[in-house]
């Protein structure tokens, strides 16, 4: 994984410390802390993990172990408009892979990557529970149902100028 150097401002460190404190600095709350920190910063770079490890008094390796274990946590920043393609079984049998390939082709990035301008990133998720609308694509919080490869260009266009 490409390493992005992040310099944390003093204010950011304080924010992380406050989050840890709100969970009473309990090591058992590690996952809840990470959820909240990711929600605040958008992702979990190594520098952020270092602060969390120190605050909760757990080895950095353990924090890194947890971050990399769960697919919800990310060490790279997502795009301004994160695109998630559902590749659950129901979407797969209704053609999700073709939709995914079209997004990759249009944005010229792979799954887990972000476009150079920081606008879009692609990820796959397993089932959003909207199987009646398969194949499903989410851009941010908005859900698109019954997506075909032909619709991909228009979906991207909606966000290009934002």
């Amino acid at each position: 994984m490409s390493r992005i150097k992040v310099e944390l401002k003093k204010k950011d460190v304080e924010t992380i410390r406050d989050i840890c404190k709100s969970f009473e600095n309990k090591p058992g709350e590690l996952i809840n802390v990470l959820h909240k920190v990711q929600h605040t910063f958008g992702y979990l770079p190594a520098e952020v993990q270092e602060v969390v490890a120190a605050e909760l008094n757990v080895p950095l390796a353990k924090v890194y172990g947890v971050v990399t274990f769960y697919s919800f946590f990310s060490m790279v920043p997502k795009g301004k408009h994160p695109i998630s393609i559902c590749t659950g079984t129901a979407c797969y049998v209704r053609g999700a892979e073709n939709v995914l390939n079209e997004f990759k082709k249009e944005l010229k990035i792979e799954v887990g990557e972000t476009t150079a301008d920081g606008k879009f990133s692609i990820s796959c998720l397993r089932c959003v529970g909207a199987c009646g609308l398969a194949p499903v694509v989410m851009v941010g919080d908005k859900t698109y149902g019954r997506v075909s490869p032909e619709m991909v260009k228009d979906i991207i266009k909606e966000y290009e100028d934002q």
Binding site: I31, Y70, T89, G129, A130, C131, L133, G145
Partner: protein, 597 residues
């Protein structure tokens, strides 16, 4: 529920929500206000109706009218025509997906006919954000009965006699699980609700939590009373924001009503519930992995014993049950074990919720009595295969289950029959496949998932599944040999026998059952190098039919690699060695001259 008012229910399940059911609710509400009807009509956003394919669904209760595929701009018409003038809006009425005829009321909806709704009893009926509506439908009565009239052992006996088994996949008898935790001596015990629904293509638990969160809270409290626990935890996927939101509201309301907290119903019993968020790991559906995840660790399973009922969360005795299992508990207490055990088959009692999806006409959520046949589920409730195609197989149990075919259509569905048929009940995902689905490709799809989700702790699962996946990839790329099929079978069995947890033990199931049921298809992939479903690109050959080709050169100009040659007005030829199988020529040809073999 205020019976005197006309109620308009809008489905707020995930499928319909993503099609703007929230703004439909808002516009109907505004319209009711604008027409001065607030005293006689109200609109309620409910849980899933189970009619996801036709969503968003709007139901007018007093005359049992269903509207399908409603858009926010239709709201005004519904209020004006239906409520004011008393005329139903014909163009929006729910139509049978198969016959296209207008359906009159819930009795007319084919897919409701064979259903028995116990776990889903309130979904799509009440407002999930109102505790009063839950109470009006006998909510928290079971908890009251248990706390004031029964002792823990009597309650456990009722659950045991009812024959309720775990709905998360394993099918372990719920009463026995509770009894084991009750028998463990400890100063602190826990009740955990497993809401980490990781099976792709399944959305039962999500719908229950979104549609009827109080039923789970009530059942967890009953379980706490039976086992001696005073703390409950719901382990829920962070990917389910609506379910989390509704659960939070429900817990808050229950606390306000004194149904959670200290001295519930004026007794010595105290119980409260907290939420814990999953972070996207399929293996956390396994109870020991789930417990580690709740403790803030990597979700890796550990050996059993010790079972969670002896040493679970923080080393204390813990009962872990799935959402649907809990949702069944209050009705069993109220209506008695005889009632519950009268439904279903000899060893599997009650009902099961299935999420019906894939190539089927009526995608959605259904609850059917155990013992129903796959044929009834797929062809009667599900309305048959989409586009009139031929049924090929149905995958039950998700990535841990197997596929069932034509010959299995008439066996009664229950835990034991499905295992005997080479699949499993699982949590209730049911994905229907038609003739266009390739069984090698599907097996590869499921293995890709397992490889992704293996926690990496033990070698058979970590390494073995990767090898299975590579073998399948080799076959779909046209490089397979006949021995590869035997290798898949042998390796698959080794992984099953030697893995530690349920994920590894079941991960080869899809490929093994697909080889078992569709051996010829695997054979034609490796021997004839043909994919009859037309899915495996590498095995496809694009050709031009000389009789149809007029020599317009459209295909040659479309070809990105220059694989098509031919003079104007003469028959063109595709050089299969150069062809990258992109399909551009086929798209461009107006004379159906390009075909795939």
């Amino acid at each position: 529920m205020l019976e005197s008012k006309i109620q308009i229910l809008v489905c707020g399940g995930t499928g319909c929500s993503s099609k703007a059911s929230h703004s439909i609710t808002e516009t109907i509400k505004n319209e009711i206000k604008a027409q001065g009807l607030t005293d006689i009509a109200e609109v309620v956003l409910t849980g899933c109706f189970g009619l996801c394919e036709m969503g968003p669904i709007v139901r007018v209760i007093h005359d049992d009218t269903y509207y399908a595929k409603v858009r926010p701009e239709d709201a005004r018409e519904i209020v004006e025509e239906h409520l004011v003038k008393g005329k139903k809006v014909q163009r929006l009425l729910f139509r049978d997906p198969k016959t296209k005829e207008i359906v009159a009321g819930s009795k007319g909806i084919n897919r409701y006919k064979k259903q028995v709704r116990i776990a889903l009893r309130n979904c799509g009926v009440i407002n999930p954000e109102s505790i009063n509506e839950y109470i009006a439908r006998n909510g928290y009565e079971a908890l009251g009965k248990v706390l004031t009239e029964m002792d823990p052992q009597q309650t456990i006996d009722v659950i045991k006699k009812s024959g309720l088994r775990g709905r998360g996949g394993g099918g372990f008898p719920t009463g026995i699980k509770w009894e084991l935790t009750a028998a463990s001596k400890s100063d602190k015990k826990f009740v955990v609700c497993n809401a980490d629904e990781g099976d792709p293509g399944a959305f039962m638990d999500r719908s229950i939590l979104e549609g009827d969160p109080h039923s789970v809270i009530e059942a967890m409290a009953i379980c706490g009373y039976c086992t001696g626990a005073d703390s409950g935890l719901v382990y829920i996927r962070a990917e389910y924001p609506l379910a989390i939101e509704r659960l939070k509201i429900a817990i808050k309301q229950a606390r306000e009503y004194g149904l959670l907290g200290k001295n519930i119903f004026g007794t010595d019993f105290s119980f409260d519930i907290e939420l814990r968020y999953g972070a996207g790991a399929f293996v956390c559906g396994e109870e020991t992995a789930l417990i580690h995840s709740m403790e803030g660790k990597r979700g890796e399973p550990t050996m059993k014993p010790p079972f969670p009922s002896v040493a679970g969360y923080l080393g204390k005795p813990t009962t872990v049950n799935n959402v649907e299992t809990f949702a069944n508990v209050p009705p069993i207490i109220l209506k008695g074990h005889e009632w519950f055990s009268s439904i279903g088959t000899e060893k599997s009692k009650g009902t099961k919720v299935f999420a019906l999806a894939g190539k089927i006409n009526n995608v959605g959520l259904i609850e059917v009595p155990m013992g129903i046949t796959l044929r009834e589920v797929i062809f009667e409730i599900g309305g048959g295969i989409k586009g009139g195609k031929k049924f090929k197989a149905v995958q039950t149990g998700g990535p841990s289950g197997g596929c069932l075919t034509e010959k299995h259509l008439d066996i009664p569905i229950d835990y034991d029959n499905l295992i005997a048929a080479g699949s499993m009940m699982g949590s209730g995902g049911m994905i229907v496949m038609d003739e266009d689905d390739c069984m090698v490709d599907m097996a590869k799809f499921f293995l890709e998932f397992t490889v992704d989700e293996s926690c990496g702790k033990c070698a058979p699962c970590r390494v073995g599944n990767k090898r299975l996946f590579e073998l399948l990839e080799k076959i779909t790329q046209g490089n397979g040999i006949k021995e590869d099929i035997d290798r898949l079978i042998n390796l698959g069995n080794v992984i099953k026998d030697t893995s530690l947890c349920g994920l590894g033990q079941s991960s080869p199931n899809p490929v093994l059952s697909m080889i078992n049921n569709f051996y010829h298809e695997y054979e034609s992939h490796v021997v004839d190098k043909k994919c009859h479903a037309g899915v495996c690109k590498a095995l496809m050959v694009y050709q031009i039919v000389p009789e149809n080709c007029v020599g317009c050169t459209a295909c040659a100009r479309a070809c990105p690699v220059g694989a098509i040659t031919g003079e104007r007005k003469e028959v063109h030829v595709i050089d299969t060695k150069l062809c990258i199988k992109c399909g551009a020529c086929m798209e461009r040809c107006k004379f159906n001259a390009v075909i795939v073999n």
